[in-house]
């Protein structure tokens, strides 16, 4: 039991660190789409992995929130914080909801996370900027979210296989 708790703590630390690193890399890669607010959502890879690696829901939400706050303080401003907070939370909640009901496989869950991330970002941006015209970016955002989600799902599956392979049956390794 104790062993499991320590593992969760260790995982959380590593995941936050990796997510922070991915957020930084994401900053260095400007997307040529020309749309404000679209981020690759690389850090979602960590959140996606966390859902399967850590049993405690609250811990997973904490990892996502800490990552967003850290990134905003270091690279962003109040607005980018709002956007990524909305994106991160909707994405995570969607992924959880679908994982629990087993509606989609891992790839589907990840795609939903990517799409949710982008839709929430643009919705908050439209509200904050009082610019409903932003909805015209939705098609591109949906495509970007789907591609990012699919890639994250594939890479995430490989990562999970390696990490969870060592502790077969101890954590969530269904699917």
């Amino acid at each position: 039991m104790k062993d499991k708790r320590f593992r969760t703590i260790a995982y959380s630390g590593i995941l936050v660190a990796v997510a922070f690193l991915l957020s930084y890399i994401e900053m260095l890669i400007p997307l040529p789409i020309g749309i404000p607010g679209v981020k690759l959502g690389l850090a979602n890879l960590v959140v996606f992995a966390a859902i399967y690696m850590i049993e405690d829901k609250k811990t997973v939400y904490m990892i996502a929130i800490v990552r967003i706050i850290l990134t905003a303080i270091t690279f962003g401003n109040a607005y980018s914080f709002l956007f990524s907070f909305a994106g991160g939370m909707l994405s995570l909640s969607l992924m959880y909801a679908c994982q629990k009901r087993c509606i989609f496989g891992r790839i589907g869950i990840s795609i939903l996370g990517g799409v949710g991330h982008n839709v929430a970002q643009i919705a908050v941006a439209a509200l904050v900027l009082e610019t409903p015209e932003l909805v015209w970016y939705l098609p591109t955002l949906l495509i970007a979210g789907t591609i990012a989600g699919a890639v994250i799902g594939l890479v995430g599956a490989l990562v999970l296989e390696r990490v969870l392979g060592q502790y077969k049956g101890v954590d969530k390794s269904e699917d």
């Binding site: 607005y79 980018s80 989609f104 496989g105 589907g108 900027l129 610019t131 015209w136 939705l138």
Partner: protein
């Protein structure tokens, strides 16, 4: 790993995208615009006609800036201090209902035709 529902999900997203593209095509006709609305934080701060060439510096509330250029009936953000430079990379636009958006500076430039004139014509810029 890839469930049937995953495929359906992707198809559903693609269908939504196609529908949105069609609707957007209907709304944003190829017609060119007459003037632009400049909004900061959602507030209309200026309107400029696209008929005359000009250059304006728009200062964001938190100190950022965007320099917009109007030339040959088109508008572009020539220079900006935002980190992502999406607004600059967008280049010159002229189509109806098009927008240039700089999220970091909370700037929105909307291209309009005379028929959707609101009647508000502030010629003094806030700040």
């Amino acid at each position: 790993m890839l469930k049937r529902n995953d495929v359906l999900l992707v198809l559903g997203i693609l269908l939504t995208v196609v529908i949105l593209y069609i609707v957007r095509g209907l709304v944003m006709s190829g017609a060119s615009s007459d003037y632009i609305e400049v909004r900061l934080d959602g507030k209309l701060i200026a309107e400029y006609s696209l008929d005359e060439d000009r250059e304006e510096v728009i200062y964001a509330p938190d100190g950022g800036y965007n320099i917009l250029t109007i030339r040959d009936g088109k508008v572009a953000v020539k220079e900006a201090d935002c980190p992502d430079k999406h607004c600059v990379n967008k280049g010159f636009v002229s189509g109806q209902n098009e927008t240039i958006i700089c999220l970091p500076n909370r700037l929105v430039i909307k291209l309009c035709v005379d028929s959707d004139k609101t009647g508000i014509t502030p010629d003094v810029m806030a700040q």
